[in-house]
Symmetry: C2
Subunit: 315 residues, 2 copies
């Protein structure tokens, strides 16, 4: 097993120490110890990133792979309206993995973890007989009973989405095609460095604006269907309102995934801001009591929207 | 991705529901939600099990692989003196994996999780381009500040170990050699179905008997060295006292690993029971202020004990 360089180990231990109250003990014992404050619940998510399925060593830099690995977990925490507390990494590496690759991976992960005050508090390593395997567990805190669930949507709610959609999927598509134009370089950046919407999630919870929330890393159509299923409702999207990224297309915005934006519903009279710290928040449709997800341009009959996420790697 | 049969999904959801207070929300949202009681801390551990490194499909049944995967995490929770609350599974499977294998794996894992009231509260699945990958995260609870750490040992403490040692490593050795005698079948059982010492860990904490504790799944010599390092002390083992399993040998007991027993230190006047619910607790040595780990038979000069874990799979 390659052992990370001592400055990285030091950085990991320093991260652990700097946290103060809630993280009592980080790397170095059988378990880490977390002490939430009174009236706080913990949210927990795990996300498995596998070479060849979630990333490719010839497409992605080690820094981007580390960043994306943690971003997946942080985005789930954001979708609960929770605040990150600590993360845990299980990393399986082929024996031939270079130390420089491991360092790059950890740098990418640690940069994001530091920015979100989510120290790496433990984990495991092992020799993988095949590809790179990275499983991230992220723990966050939220006041008792205040998590934003998928099940809270009500008929009449307005549906909102953060950011613009489709660029990250377009970036992955151009990585897969091997053609990197000037335009696609911007997309690839969006694919490589997704930014989990932690602060927006917290704001929406604290201001009691959202009733149901989910992250749309699997694709808007798939994840909206999850909200509808868990809330026993349906939805209509207004095709004209979907915030499609520059030069991307509606299909990628609806089904491309990889966006790590938040989808939420709010009562129709809620005062939802049009942007938070430069990130647009766009109204894209409404919740219905009738089941099923539809899309319309308001001029023609609404069409049933098939929930599908792009599955690049399996093609 | 193979989807587990609906009775297994039902069993997982039922486990999640049956827990009551501390597990507020299990499988089905972006995150699970845990609500520890007032004055409780949470302990968290992750353990990565990789095909070819931690198990082999032609040596281990799927049930045993699932059991062992969770046992690794539960044993870490036991070593803190904590009570399991919930577990999370990330499972990467090759596309060719049979549904019956997945069912067997989950049965093995769920049987152990039910026995220890540690419901499967979430996780992730993905297609592995190569071998089976299973990462388990286990969360446990412990009263504020009461975790048993590796760093609590003091010079003069007596060293104890639970159970008998060496059988599981002998079982793995005979699996590797392909020779399954009547004798080795018993060892293989021990290897396949390790029993994490949850209740003993809780007893030792509640009765304030142990000062430092660790699980010795990596091997007695390696894990005792961890205690010494974290506590800035040394240790002497009495060779005659090591509880070697029937027909195993001292070398396997010291270095074989796979035992999932607990090693702990206690003040020399502590009233440590000689067994808990049929599991022997054996005094095997003492902690010294002088650094280094030694072994002696009390008749000849103590020898330095090299910390080494067996690495079957890398040979």
């Amino acid at each position: 097993m390659p052992i990370p360089e001592s400055d990285l180990i030091r950085r990991i231990r320093n991260q652990t120490k700097s946290r103060g109250g809630r993280l009592r003990l980080g790397v170095g014992d059988d378990c880490a110890i977390l002490r939430p404050r009174a009236q706080e619940e913990l949210v927990v998510t795990t996300d498995l990133s596998l070479e060849g399925t979630h990333f490719r060593l010839n497409w992605h830099t080690p820094e981007s792979i580390g960043h994306r690995c943690l971003a997946r977990g942080l985005s789930d925490v954001a979708a609960m309206g929770a605040r990150p507390l600590a993360c845990f990494l299980s990393l399986g590496l082929p024996a031939k993995t270079k130390q420089s690759w491991v360092n790059g991976f950890l740098r990418g992960l640690l940069e994001l973890s530091e920015r979100h005050s989510c120290p790496l508090a433990g984990g495991d390593t092992g020799e993988s007989k095949s590809g790179v395997v990275a499983d991230i567990t992220v723990v966050g805190t939220v006041p008792h009973g205040k998590s934003l669930l998928r099940s809270g949507a009500k008929a009449g709610d307005t549906i909102y989405v953060t950011g613009v959609l489709g660029a990250a999927a377009a970036g992955l598509k151009s990585l897969a095609s091997g053609a990197a134009s000037r335009r696609s370089r911007n997309w690839i950046e969006r694919h490589n460095w997704p930014e989990p919407r932690i602060q927006i999630g917290i704001d929406l919870r604290e201001k009691r604006l959202a009733r149901a929330m989910i992250d749309i890393s699997d694709g808007l159509s798939v994840d909206l269907a999850h909200i509808c299923e868990e809330s026993s409702v349906g939805a209509v999207l207004n095709r004209e309102l979907i915030p499609v990224a520059q030069n991307a297309d509606l299909d990628l915005a609806l089904h491309g995934g990889e966006d790590y934006e938040l989808l939420f519903t709010a009562p129709s009279n809620a005062k939802v801001p049009v942007e938070v710290k430069g990130v647009p928040i766009t109204e894209i449709g409404w919740i219905t009591s009738q089941h099923g997800v539809y899309i319309t341009d308001l001029r023609s009959k609404a069409k049933r929207l098939t929930a599908k996420g792009w599955q690049y790697f399996s093609r």
